[in-house]
Symmetry: C3
Subunit: 146 residues, 3 copies
């Protein structure tokens, strides 16, 4: 009986540790984690990825879903400071959505333009968009590309 | 010894319940589950997603693969009742492929058109396409966007 | 106590077998496995998928990441022998990146063209691109479509 209790205690403690690890610091109660990818040039995709983030927040509630949008390639334009979706990005940030900008793409774009475009202040630069995506999937995020 | 047997019985019962949950009711013998996403405006993508569904059915056999196609954003057009792929959708339905239509997109489109477009009778409306995708991935489906 | 030891040994051996299975033969030390999908017609996507493969190699090092690019649908063009990215494909192959060409797509294209286009000698033909993707995801690869 003692051993059974020990086993149950071990399972219980393991599950606590696991959940603490799985939950992001920003959203400790998030039961679902989703990484949204934008890498298309089509501006319609910018609207779509923001709609999808919004639908996730509506469906789960802002505290119950952890959403990060990773932009790379031609999709990085979403996170340029002069992008027309600035207001929506700010609104989603208020609901805890995070935005990651690919540093490799920024370097390439800067070379082509001869200057480094300013990024949205709500975005965080990461070394490589795809590596960030791989990291998040390894942490249990589901990857969706709208 | 009795305790060991009890533990094994518990593990055994748990695994049965889990498998029953994991398998869809429609395809109890499916060894592979795939959710295909269509969210592009390009009509070529409609052909492609149907081709991919067909290739899965051909490769695994209709009883061994469980395929659901989730349409949202501009991709919802595939499931409009007047879409030219109606015959192919009907054929795939005969092989057990399911079609889910995003309710959020339908609401947006209806506002823009001033009327609600009729959906293919083989499709099922879901509240949000992305939430359906997340649900299916949580159930062990592999997400592919052709 | 003996039984506990037996159980632990079994778990240990199972985990060794699992890890041996999971590692690909080509890259026995790869800690990360990624399958990149190309199925778009847009030539910009050909550049992007090769950039992404390159970024993965740069970030993890060629021996530590296992990358396979699967081309199907209009994306198969990347692997046509006369594609302009031949030099880059060759360079990535030197770093262990593999290229899989969808046999179903090749059949369809051959019918339309009245001839079978030659494929890049660095690519391997697979019966169906989507089935190859499903196989790789089942082996622990993360699927990213740039």
């Amino acid at each position: 009986m003692l051993k059974l209790l020990q086993s149950l205690l071990l399972i219980f403690l393991t599950s606590i540790v696991f959940q603490a690890n799985a939950a992001s610091e920003e959203k400790p109660f998030a039961e679902q984690k989703v990484v949204l990818q934008i890498s298309d040039a089509d501006p319609g995709k910018q609207t779509l990825v923001l709609n999808v983030a919004n639908n996730l927040i509506k469906a789960y509630g802002p505290d119950m879903v952890d959403v990060e949008i990773v932009a790379f390639g031609p999709g990085l334009r979403l996170l340029f400071d002069d992008n027309g979706n600035k207001g929506r990005i700010s609104g989603l940030t208020d609901n805890g959505v995070r935005f990651a900008a690919c540093g490799n793409t920024l370097k390439n774009v800067s070379k082509q333009l001869g200057r480094t475009p300013a990024l949205n202040s709500h975005s965080t630069q990461v070394p490589a968009g795809v590596v960030r995506i791989v990291e998040l999937v390894n942490q249990g995020y589901i990857l969706v590309k709208p």
